[in-house]
């Protein structure tokens, strides 16, 4: 069994152990008391029974003793062989001489000297009594009887056996009952523990509540926990509201600043010298990145608050890709990458929210450019059953399985080499937008060989409610 500590045991084992131990102890005590009282009363009962027998034998032998008929007395004692517990018997006359005697064949042929007064004693596994024989108030002799205590031993063995059997049965039943009952205690508790762990890991759904099953302590814990989660949700809501408001407040000024930068670069404020042009170029890049970050934050907060709406309409793959790859010539050229398009022009009609699908695709192309230093980026359109698929494959740094696993979660921390810019919200937003359009985004990647993202949305089929 080894060394174990009570405090380390699971609660269900503790409850079972407590129930079983306490019931076993009380049962054991009851059995012990029973056996003890039996062992105390049984000798008295045996002595009484033997005395009763002596009374009967003595009474029947009065005439034999009175009229000196030892043959009849002998016959009387011989009837004792009907009782297998009687070891020996002896009738003494008034002089203390043996008048008649009997011994069980297997018992020692031994008869003690007469004892005049009434007497009974236990010794060496047998009980002996001497009893005066009276006839009409006069003493006519003495009777001696010796009985073995086998009956008592057998009875005690029976009691012990019954006690053991009952004890084992009771132990098993209490184990069964306790293990059933403990589930009703630990079950709800385990539920509370699981839910708490869930939320502690950061994946918990704050809108969910524990089922309060009773008014006991566990019910109270569940209720307190629900109140706590409710408050936590309030804080979370406040945070989302704050992000939403702040993003809105920031979006317009950043857009205006970007507009002024554009104006200046277009020469509306006069001729720019090369140094000014470099600075403005830099500012424009930062401004765009900021704008993008703010838009992402707004989208993420919309998703979190559950206020995202999609506008599903038929749209062609060609149109989506066309809109998505606009103004990427400069970034592509800057890194010396080529953009390959495959099957895009033959691609069929999709049933999706055009702007969100374009947004998702631009997101992927953006990431591909960021993560690829040489080679090409391929945008590929194809169909897979009822779904229309647009793939974005690059020849970039790729990623390992662990990174892929948490790619579509919020607040992910990518490897340093991949975390080039942005808040890391892009793929989280994309995943949600795709889900909203009854589609999905999946990824396959090989470290050092490149990554392939796959956007899937339902194909459009005219006539049947707009969808295939």
């Amino acid at each position: 069994m080894g060394i174990f500590r009570f405090s380390d045991m699971p609660l269900k084992k503790k409850i079972t152990l407590i129930a079983v131990v306490s019931s076993s102890v009380s049962l054991l005590m009851a059995c012990l008391v029973f056996i003890l009282s039996e062992s105390l009363t049984f000798p008295r009962v045996m002595r009484q029974n033997l005395s009763n027998l002596a009374q009967i034998i003595g009474d029947n032998s009065t005439a034999a003793l009175s009229f000196n008929d030892s043959r009849t007395a002998q016959g009387l004692l011989d009837t004792l062989k009907a009782n297998p517990h009687i070891l020996s018997a002896c009738l003494y006359d008034l002089k203390g001489q043996v008048f008649a005697r009997y011994a069980r064949p297997d018992a020692p042929q031994y008869w003690p000297a007469v004892v005049w007064e009434e007497k009974s004693e236990f010794s060496g596994g047998s009980v002996r009594i001497f009893q005066p024989v009276l006839s009409g108030g006069d003493r006519v002799g003495t009777l001696y009887l010796e009985s073995d205590t086998r009956e008592m031993q057998l009875r005690m063995m029976d009691y012990t056996l019954v006690t053991v059997v009952v004890g084992v049965l009771a132990f098993l039943i209490s184990l069964l009952v306790a293990s059933r009952l403990q589930q009703r205690v630990t079950g709800p508790l385990q539920q509370v523990v699981d839910r708490m762990k869930d939320i502690a890991k950061g994946e918990g759904d704050l809108t969910k509540r524990l089922e309060v099953t009773g008014k006991d302590e566990i019910g109270e814990v569940a209720e307190a926990f629900n109140t706590f989660v409710g408050k936590l949700q309030g804080v979370e809501d406040m945070k989302l509201d704050l992000i939403s408001v702040v993003s809105h407040q920031l979006k317009t000024p950043v857009a205006e600043i970007n507009g002024f930068i554009e104006n200046m670069m277009m020469g509306l404020t006069g001729e720019l010298n090369p140094k000014q042009k470099t600075y403005l170029d830099e500012m424009r890049a930062i401004g765009r990145e900021n704008y993008r970050l703010i838009t992402d934050l707004l989208s993420a907060s919309k998703i979190d608050r559950g206020v995202v709406t999609v506008d599903l309409k038929p749209v062609s793959t060609k149109e989506v890709v066309g809109l998505a790859i606009r103004d990427y010539e400069v970034p592509l050229a800057r890194k010396g990458l080529s953009l390959e398009l495959e099957g895009v022009w033959e691609g069929g009609m999709l049933y999706a929210d055009r702007d969100k699908l374009v947004e998702a695709l631009r997101n992927l192309i953006n990431n591909a450019i960021k993560c690829t230093d040489k080679g090409s980026i391929t945008v590929r359109a194809l169909t897979e059953g009822d779904m229309g698929v647009i793939e974005v494959a690059d020849t970039g740094i790729g990623m390992d399985a662990e990174t892929m696993g948490r790619l579509f979660t919020k607040n992910r921390v990518l490897g340093k080499e991949a975390h080039r810019s942005g808040a890391g919200l892009g793929l989280y937003i994309t995943k949600n937008f795709m889900k909203q359009q009854n589609g999905d985004i999946t990824v396959t990647s090989e470290k050092g060989r490149g990554t392939c993202f796959k956007l899937a949305v339902p194909r459009f089929k005219p006539g049947e409610g707009g969808r295939l």
Binding site: T62, A63, A64, F67, N68, D93, K95, G136, G137, R139
Partner: protein, 187 residues
């Protein structure tokens, strides 16, 4: 009665019951001591009808008819004793004649001595119909209409009983007594 007294009496009895080392004269005496003790013991194993205790303050009367073989032994044995709650009186009668009839019928227990052998028929006729236990040493007594005869089997004094006669007289003999006796049946 006190235990001491009983033991005293029984010691006498015991002493006389066991042979060995005694002279023949002593044995002669001991035979009637035993018989006297038997006579007294009969009282414990026989039930008389209730009404027969009306006379003599409810005493049990042992009658000796004819030549008394017991002497003082019997008187010593019953002196001051209560047997089954009754005192015991010993009455002695001379050889039988008609005038004794009334007195004999009032005895509970009548010992008919050997001397009365020839008048046995008349004696038994005289007590017939009364609850009187008749005891004698006369041979074939149970067959002659008597109830208990002292007999001998080696050294041991035994009893021959005719229970039908006792029953006819309204006496009840204990089965324990019948168990140790030789039983005779007439008619």
């Amino acid at each position: 009665m006190s235990t001491l007294k009983t033991l005293g009496f029984l010691a006498v009895l015991g002493l006389t019951l066991w042979p060995g080392g005694h002279a023949s004269r002593a044995q002669e005496v001991s035979e009637y001591t035993v018989k006297a003790a038997y006579l007294v013991n009969f009282v414990k194993f026989i039930t008389w009808p209730d009404k027969v205790y009306d006379d003599d303050q409810g005493a049990i009367v042992i009658g000796i008819l004819g030549d008394d073989p017991f002497g003082a032994t019997l008187d010593d044995m019953v002196k001051g004793r209560f047997i089954e709650g009754h005192i015991v009186l010993v009455r002695r009668f001379a050889s039988y004649d008609e005038t004794q009839k009334g007195s004999l019928r009032k005895c509970h227990l009548l010992f008919i001595a050997y001397s009365e052998k020839d008048r046995l028929r008349d004696i038994l006729k005289a007590v017939q119909g009364s609850p009187v236990l008749t005891v004698s040493e006369i041979e074939r007594f149970p067959l002659a209409g008597g109830m208990i005869q002292f007999d001998q089997e080696g050294q041991r004094i035994t009893l021959d009983i005719n229970p039908a006669q006792a029953q006819k007289a309204g006496l009840t003999l204990s089965s324990k007594l019948l168990q140790i006796a030789k039983i005779y049946r007439t008619e």
